[in-house]
Symmetry: C2
């Protein structure tokens, strides 16, 4: 146990010097025990002014200065463009260079190929930063919840949309001003569609599902509905019921053989763990057969939290860690189903929701000159089939309950 002196053993080629890239540059400078150093940084535009002081000789705009440098034994990829992220990650893996990435869009779209490449070229790709920033969800699902007991992963995976909803429900602001405040503070992009449409949560959920249940489901096959169309009347309805609307992503086993997954707004009551996940935070509930519920909570976005997650993956490479995707080899993996019944709230005015949707059982219906809503049961697959109806500008849908109507879970 006496101290030993080690030299840096990880030499990093970094792609991208945006918010996360700059955060990583700062974090690694602070981590003096990390035995890792940034050897080269590839950026698109060498002339672009940066918020931090990076030695000029570290910078390059030629990817081959990283790919062909025999000293570099790890590539960290934090570029914003998914196409470019894919080119970087796939090129690195084909060259046998391990990759640490935070590009959820690219990973969610290409995970099967990325797994094949890792196996074919006997190298590793780690991407805990891609889901929930600083919360170690992927690593825990891969390593710790590595058994048949896992029943559900459910949470608030997008900080920007949660910040907006939090301003609305906890601070009484209206949606429009909450959104513009989020943009002003940098929690939401100038085009916030990616966050508030649920796409960001969806991509994280797709990655989580691979590590939770060993099954890859293509993003296009998952019902995803954001908070774009939320209206004051929906907020008022939730307030009257004493609940908050949260944008929730979930993957849930509905039997030993089947699971379902979706992203949609949900009425969350005060007793639930995710009720108190406010502002730009993320919170994930992992439910299992013998351990009941585990709750993980932390900063889900931002340069430094994401960068510290990347550092953890870099450190894991020091001792050769890789995801083994063991659950993908399970003989009896559960199958994805959309044949589950949800109880939903649907607000509408001109669109004839009761006429157009195959509602199974109507529990409440409210009609007024200002607008209508219905609380009814509907099959998830039918929501997917009638997606265009739900996208009408006068319509908003939210999940009423975490329980599936016809299942005992």
């Amino acid at each position: 146990m006496k101290p030993t002196i080690k030299k840096p053993t990880i030499k990093i080629g970094l792609f991208g010097l945006g918010v996360v890239g700059q955060g990583f540059f700062k974090v690694i400078a602070r981590a003096t025990n990390a035995h890792a150093e940034i050897r080269r940084i590839c950026v698109r535009d060498l002339a672009k002014p940066r918020g931090i002081d990076v030695p000029r000789n570290l910078l390059t705009d030629n990817p081959d200065d990283i790919f062909l440098d025999p000293e570099i034994n790890l590539i960290v990829e934090v570029v914003s463009d998914p196409e470019m992220a894919w080119r970087i990650a796939s090129t690195a893996l084909r060259r046998g260079i391990p990759v640490v990435s935070g590009s959820k869009t690219m990973i969610a779209a290409n995970l099967p190929e990325l797994i094949s490449l890792q196996r074919q070229y006997d190298t590793a790709m780690l991407y805990d930063a891609s889901s929930c920033g600083s919360i170690p969800v992927i690593r825990n699902l891969e390593e710790y919840y590595d058994n048949d007991l896992l029943l559900e992963v459910k949470g608030i995976l997008n900080g920007s949309s949660n910040y907006i909803l939090s301003r609305v429900f906890d601070h009484g602001e209206d949606y429009a001003s909450a959104l513009s405040k989020a943009q002003r503070l940098g929690f939401a992009e100038s085009d916030p569609t990616f966050d508030i449409s649920g796409l960001d949560s969806l991509f994280k959920l797709v990655i989580i599902t691979v590590h939770a249940l060993g099954v890859y489901v293509s993003p296009k096959d998952v019902f995803t509905y954001g908070i774009n169309a939320i209206h004051d009347s929906d907020i008022r309805y939730a307030r009257e019921k004493g609940v908050k609307i949260k944008l929730v992503a979930q993957v849930v086993k509905v039997s030993d053989e089947e699971f379902t997954m979706f992203v949609m707004p949900e009425f969350v009551s005060p007793g639930k763990y995710i009720y108190s996940v406010d502002n730009e935070y993320n919170g994930v509930v992992i439910r299992g057969e013998c351990y009941d519920r585990q709750f993980m909570f932390g900063k889900g976005a931002g340069g430094l939290p994401t960068a510290s997650s990347i550092l953890s993956d870099v450190m894991a490479r020091l001792h050769g860690y890789r995801y083994e995707y063991k659950k993908m080899d399970y003989i009896n993996r559960p199958a994805y189903t959309t044949d589950v019944t949800l109880r939903v709230y649907i607000r509408y005015s001109s669109t004839d929701i009761p006429g157009l949707l195959p509602l199974q059982c109507v529990h409440e219906q409210y009609l007024s000159a200002d607008g209508n809503y219905v609380v009814a049961d509907i099959v998830l697959g039918d929501l997917i089939k009638h997606r265009a109806t739900l996208d009408a500008p006068d319509v908003f849908i939210a999940n009423m309950t975490r329980f599936f109507v016809d299942r005992d879970n």
Copy 2:
């Protein structure tokens, strides 16, 4: 990615068939993908009736039926007696058999030797179940927070004492009836001293500190004060201030070079994550330089939650996982100090607290015929030095704030 058929590769010798042992027996029967099976169970008394149906031929009272069985490649040790746990764990390690253990008392007392044995005999010991039951604290500290950014681990590590305090603060019960209810429900032992004296939290904290900062501090060197002496007047004082008293264990870096640690009751205000950790739950806050605070929450005790944690460790052995204790090799590990000033509340009547303790600065003093209290600053080392004074039956001490008085943290 096509399914492959694997035979069980882990054959377990189980020591102990109490609450956790029985839980483990049930959990492993349910985990059909686990590739692990219990081959033999060693108990002290073969004739003792058990709550579960275990095949008679699995049972033995001869440890050598496990140690000398060449098929057994993992020992799970969940006996309650620390002496016996040490004999089992050290014998197994010396024979090169990896061990999964949940015996916090034994581990906290013997961790340096257990680490040496693992290195000397090139084998592994895993014990995530020893700290916070189903919450994967140790593994996360070892693997994920493996860098210089970690500043603090603080939490409610004992479910029984928290259940009692929760009944008092959330349900308005008095301490004595809350304690007897905890005993009736099985949350507290018939002799609850271990839980409410803070010893259970202390042992967990000692283990956590090794994996958080790479430093072993002997339990005897850590200030540990429980809730035994709590009195209605303390509860009333906390209620008037709008806070709850929680039994909190913490290890905190006070500078780059030093850290401190202690277990004591604390006044916790509603804004804190641990404020809402109620009943028998555990909650741990991990604070770091770049990721701010992470909060992990779950069932900290009980047969099944603890057993599912043991299963995770068993599964980790399938791919050869072991703790590497990397932080112990760091060149600049922080040193343990008790030279930090805390702001504390001390209630007393006959004991002359202001006369006996070197209080640095008295912020409040209240004197009455029914009893007195003082809110003052005091050095942690002085609390240790004057421990006997604090153990007087009329005295109760609680930490007033999470900030150290003379430090900027």
